[in-house]
């Protein structure tokens, strides 16, 4: 089954996302900020990265930028979890190389549907 790296500084969101994805059979690993995610990503290639935007230490936008610099992550889908329903954050994410976004608040089914589409 596909592997997913879930990045969020909020423990409850992380738990919810992990629980949902694991329940659907995905192999999930958690990171609580961009820099932790980046160092995990360097050790193992994930099929999808799911990242919050606003995080301490390294935010989601910076994470995508850094990921895209890694050869292995050039084409890996990276989805941003964002509360900003429109505007600059989404664009900044796209510019940095994010594949797309999931708008918060979302429920587990919406999350799974989007991920299913991306991973096939």
């Amino acid at each position: 089954m596909a592997s997913i790296l879930a990045v969020d500084d909020s423990a409850s969101m992380r738990q919810m996302v992990t629980f949902t994805l694991k329940g659907a059979g995905y192999d999930v690993q958690e990171a609580c900020d961009g820099s932790e995610a980046l160092s995990i990503a360097k050790t193992k290639k994930f099929d999808l990265v799911l990242s919050d935007v606003n995080m301490p230490v390294m935010d989601g936008i910076e994470l995508v930028t850094e990921l895209r610099k890694l050869g292995e992550y050039k084409f890996v889908p990276v989805l941003m979890l964002t509360t900003e329903s429109a505007g600059d954050k989404k664009m900044a994410g796209k510019k940095a190389g994010a594949t797309g976004w999931i708008v918060k608040p979302f429920n587990p089914d919406q999350l799974l549907n989007t991920i299913k589409k991306v991973l096939g």
Binding site: F75, K94, G97, P105
Partner: protein, 733 residues
């Protein structure tokens, strides 16, 4: 798949409370003359996470309220607005308000939104003051309603035969992880669900010469014929992530052939219809809401969320009706669950020790299997090892419950700030030893007494600025909170550099209240101690800050309940220091084991003043079987546990009996025991949990031989004897 989101609520509440603490401390640390961008960012992130989590877990009231807070913070963060003192005050009020809302939600009750609504209005007023904010949100709503309007026109049209999609991706579309194949597949799924089909026609015009081709680029473009009666919005959703940097055109397919009959709104065209849209906005909202809800294959919760995506406004109205259900689902039990965060180091230490214990156990097990007397020494060594392992294990388990006292101290910067404003005094707060660790339960219970002491010091202890300067002191008063370990106890000091306790006034007051005789000679310490007497207050004016003088005795009682003590030292003109001494934990007690009849009782070691053998000359009979003993200058009542607990054990002659003098609530009492057994650490088991509450017993423990021993509640005993004995007397009479 449906997942019960309530299982994440507890974690959400915990992190929200943490976030609120962070917001509060960051706001307090904010220096308005030189605003630190990272501090603002931290505050913003905390608010942002609370909003996101609240939305996800169905607490729409909280997320709606946090939204306005976040918006203002975002403007400040983005440099669109300069933060002012008023903003800080307002944010602090929001922190309090959110804390209240969260507490209500955690308890499973409906939160009171009155204060939140009031604050929200204030925020909206601030936000409306600046055009940037309103403009931004208008744009959003227009954009969403533009799409929704389209939905309506489409859904009213029943005759959709299909769509022709021209898809010319930007060359680096693959580098964002967007795979065109995925979109075709989605289109196909969508069409097949409606019984239709999809035809993908690739175009190679953009393909360069082979030598110029870059392997990571996408040079193809496609025409996709979707032959199915699906909504344009559904197709648009598939291309949602690439629409901004790819060229996508939609055309509607005609009835019988593939030619397009009607050109439809390209994304750019939407802006042109904005004005009409606004006019029809309200109609659009209602219809869309209905439409999404009637969608049969999605669950109830999802409906709301789907609408959220499109229309924030509809949700705002909906939330009021939806939220009560969410709250009911949360159930009440979450409120009782408390958890504790433990550092990995502590857990590792624990695992390590359990490992050692297992080794010792297997060593002893082996020894036991083939034991002969030659190996006694090894057995003893093994048992010694076991004892050490057990003790270490106990220590590290106890450490798990230990938290740094900063958890209790963290509320004081805010409290001191608010109070000093209210009282118009300038106060510096110094906190020392914030990393000193203390049992979680003790920590929770010491919070209120500490608040009381700090309030008291601020209100009564510190003088106002004029008085201070007149006395040659700096105009700023200082309150120091200091925590440190001292021989198995933790000591917490609340120190002020104010005027100190006024001995004369205390003495006068005490005489007035009849607490001491007029010609009684009292030491300084004794006078200071008077402020802990019930109903004692020297404040000439009752203030709403530190209450009406019912405080200090309550403080002392609360601390005594934790098996702790409090004392005060003071010097006129230099200030006062309140020292609280507490046991590190409530789970283990240093106890003195005594035997009365067949029963073994335990007295907390801290409560024991001395143990003596009664002599006839000390005894005084007051009435019936009530005796007091003269111990130096004190008269101390003598109690028999046989009477108090009605054990029916035979009472020995008082003369020559062993007496343990214990002190609780500042009262001494002598207890007759048959035998002093020994001192040991005992693990306290709650009687209330395992049996029921018993007067004068604070708990029980299990002794080495497996028997249960009761731990005597010394303060409880002091309130007990009189009524008990009067009962006896009435029976005797």
């Amino acid at each position: 798949m449906s997942i019960d989101l309530s299982q994440f609520h507890q974690v959400f509440f915990e992190e929200s409370f943490e976030g609120l603490d962070i917001m509060e401390s960051s706001l307090l640390a904010l220096d308005l003359s030189e605003v630190d961008a990272e501090t603002i960012n931290t505050i913003f992130r905390a608010a942002h996470s609370i909003k996101g989590g609240a939305g996800t877990f169905g607490f729409m009231q909280v997320s709606g309220f946090t939204h306005v807070v976040e918006t203002l913070l975002d403007e400040i963060r983005g440099g669109d607005r300069v933060i002012e003192q008023d903003h800080v005050d307002l944010f602090l009020l929001c922190v309090d308000c959110l804390r209240g809302l969260m507490t209500d939600l955690q308890a499973g009750s409906e939160p009171d939104m009155a204060q939140a609504d009031e604050l929200k209005v204030k925020f909206e007023a601030i936000l409306a003051g600046e055009a940037i904010a309103t403009e931004g949100s208008n744009e959003d709503s227009v954009e969403t309603s533009a799409t929704t309007l389209e939905n309506i026109t489409n859904s009213n049209d029943d005759d959709i035969k299909g769509w022709k999609v021209e898809f010319i991706p930007c060359e680096d579309v693959l580098c964002t992880g967007n795979e065109p194949y995925r979109m075709f597949r989605e289109l196909q799924d969508l069409a097949e669900a409606e019984g239709g089909s999809v035809e993908v026609i690739p175009h190679l015009e953009r393909l360069p010469e082979f030598s110029k081709m870059h392997p990571e680029m996408c040079y193809l473009s496609w025409t996709i014929l979707v032959r199915a009666g699906i909504e344009l919005s559904d197709i648009e959703e598939i291309f949602e992530w690439v629409v901004d940097d790819c060229d996508i055109r939609y055309q509607r397919l005609a009835d019988d052939n593939l030619s397009a009959v009607e050109s439809h709104l390209a994304p750019e065209a939407i802006e042109d219809v904005n004005e009409e849209v606004i006019a029809e906005e309200t109609v659009a909202e209602e219809t869309v809401a209905e439409e999404s809800i009637s969608n049969a294959d999605i669950s109830g919760e999802q409906k709301i969320d789907q609408v959220t995506e499109k229309l924030a406004q509809v949700v705002a109205a909906k939330a009021k009706t939806e939220s009560p259900k969410a709250v009911v689902k949360a159930t009440n039990k979450t409120a009782e669950n408390t958890s504790i965060r433990v550092s990995i180091d502590k857990i590792d230490g624990l695992i390590n020790m359990v490992g050692e214990l297992v080794i010792t156990q297997s060593m002893l097990g082996q020894l036991g299997q083939e034991f002969d007397m030659d190996r006694v020494q090894r057995l003893q060594e093994g048992l010694g090892q076991l004892e050490q392992n057990t003790r270490e294990l106990q220590e590290s388990v106890m450490k798990i419950r230990m938290l740094p006292i900063s958890f209790a101290f963290s509320r004081f910067p805010r409290l001191v700030r608010d109070l000093s404003k209210q009282l118009d005094k300038e106060v510096d707060l110094v906190m020392i030893g914030e990393n000193t660790e203390l049992d979680k339960t003790v920590m929770e219970k010491i919070g209120d007494p500490l608040v009381h002491l700090v309030r008291n010091s601020l209100d009564h202890g510190l003088e106002n600025a004029e008085e201070r300067t007149a006395n040659g002191k700096s105009s700023n008063g200082t309150i120091t909170l200091n925590a440190f370990h001292h021989g198995g106890n933790i000591v917490i000091e609340v120190k002020d550099d104010g005027a100190g306790l006024n001995k004369e006034r205390i003495r006068k007051k005490a005489i007035e209240k009849g607490l001491v005789g007029e010609d009684e000679i009292l030491s300084d310490a004794q006078i200071h101690d008077l402020i802990f007497q019930a109903g004692f207050s020297t404040a000439e004016v009752v203030s709403d800050v530190s209450g009406r003088g019912v405080g200090m005795d309550v403080v002392r009682r609360n601390i005594a309940e934790l098996n702790g003590s409090i004392e005060v030292t003071s010097k006129a003109g230099e200030g006062s220091t309140f020292s609280i001494r507490l046991p590190l934990t409530l789970a283990i007690l240093d106890g003195q084991l005594v035997k009365v009849g067949e029963e073994v009782y335990i007295f907390p070691l801290v409560s024991i003043v001395e143990s003596i053998q009664l002599e006839k000359s000390m005894l005084n009979n007051i009435t019936g079987n009530q005796f007091v003993m003269q111990l130096r200058n004190d008269y101390i009542p003598i109690l028999c546990l046989q009477d108090i607990f009605n054990t029916g054990a035979e009472k020995k002659d008082l003369e020559g009996a062993m007496l343990v003098v214990v002190e609780g609530d500042n009262e001494k009492v002598g207890i007759v025991v048959d035998e002093l057994l020994g001192q040991q650490q005992v693990v306290i088991k709650s009687l209330e949990q395992n049996y029921q509450k018993v007067d004068s017993i604070s708990g029980a423990t299990i002794l080495g031989d497996g028997t249960v021993a009761l731990i005597v509640d010394v303060s409880g005993l002091n309130n007990k004897p009189l009524e008990k004995n009067s009962d006896d007397q009435t029976q005797a009479a």
